[in-house]
């Protein structure tokens, strides 16, 4: 405000500003610890004015979680170029950027939204809405992976490997946030290897998965994470 003139914002612009302010606060403390007063204060407007743009705390929270979910989903987009291991590693880096950036907000999103009573009878539908939002992000991740694997009709075992790996990624990120005792760069690489390992376990017991894995791996470079893991596992087993 160097000019001393407070520029008036349009409704949508103000809503987006409030969402941005809320997400910044949720990145430092859990959403259920952040009050509307704090959001109003950080945005430089009055509490009643916040309620002019969002009818209640819950609707602002839902809008913020929705924007965060869209942001997260966008990080899964990756060009279909280069090795699969390299692509997955780049996605993991962007995913951990998101987790790092949102911190407690990410935890709240993954655990069904703010874990306190914030709106009486609306609360449970909020949990359903948050669950649906998170499920939609999981679905985007799942479909992105299938498209990179060039599989249109995944067999049940492949679906299970991909979807259960996505939940492994989520839980690894939540564990990382709780103390950050392992460097995130190590975890990004580890999760790529975990994917290869889970696919390999499935392939070790199922011919369809073996054939699929062989097709995928024939184009992988010798210094990529999949080959690297196989070499290390063989060394470990011997």
């Amino acid at each position: 405000m160097t000019t001393g003139v407070r520029r008036r914002m349009g409704v949508e612009e103000r809503r987006q500003q409030l969402i941005g302010v809320a997400l910044e606060l949720f990145a430092r403390r859990s959403p259920d610890e952040v009050s509307i007063d704090e959001i109003a204060s950080a945005a430089g407007i009055s509490r009643p004015l916040v309620y002019h743009y969002f009818p209640g705390k819950l609707s602002l929270y839902e809008a913020a979680l929705k924007r965060a979910a869209q942001d997260l989903a966008s990080r899964f987009e990756e060009p279909h170029e280069g090795s699969l291991g390299g692509r997955l590693l780049r996605v993991m880096r962007r995913f951990f950027d998101f987790v790092d950036q949102h911190g407690p907000g990410f935890s709240a999103l993954m655990r069904g939204g703010p874990a306190v009573s914030v709106g009486g009878a609306h609360s449970m539908s909020h949990v359903s809405a948050t669950n649906a939002l998170v499920d939609s992000v999981r679905q985007v991740a799942y479909e992105q992976i299938l498209s990179h694997l060039r599989v249109e009709n995944p067999p049940a075992r492949l679906e299970m490997v991909v979807r259960s790996w996505i939940s492994l990624v989520e839980s690894t990120a939540l564990l990382w946030l709780d103390g950050r005792r392992v460097p995130r760069a190590e975890l990004e690489v580890k999760l790529v290897h975990d994917f290869a390992a889970l696919a390999a376990v499935s392939a070790a017991f199922d011919e369809e998965m073996t054939a699929l894995l062989r097709t995928l791996l024939k184009d992988e470079p010798n210094d990529g994470p999949f080959t690297d893991l196989a070499t290390r596992l063989i060394a470990l087993a011997s």
Copy 2:
């Protein structure tokens, strides 16, 4: 009632009966689709009498989820005898027995309880309570595994392997329930191998984990799941 005489139950006995009836119904349909009327009817008592034992639908649901959680936690208890792979496989069998037996009730438990408004302002605290309940079961599973691994102060990477594997088990079970397209016996074995694979990935990149894994594996039999997996992976990699 072959005698034609309806025996009067004590308060605690009646509560336990209602919980049992509720769990049987939740095993066939999601808890939020089961009404108090149905529970009353299945228990052979009137709706007002249900409310005499449980002040509201939510309190009966919470009691049912609590008993289910205790039941689940008890299935992780396994004698410290025989190979680690064999022990883990027996636990996985009992876990899938539970999942099979509870079906939609298990899904509801894992997704924060019944996903509808069932009690107005109490709803969010119900979600918190359910989350806390599920977390306590996860903690029991985690501590059981550590005790079998004979590790008292787990390094951060081991904690991450064990806890993220537990979430992999949960998500695999939820995916299995959704269509049962892969035989559960295959998944029980697969999850044991997944544990070995995730531990191996961690060990492939960390000396402390390597040492730990070598100690654990030296007592494993040559026909156990860990050795089996290593052999198959080597065959796959060649």
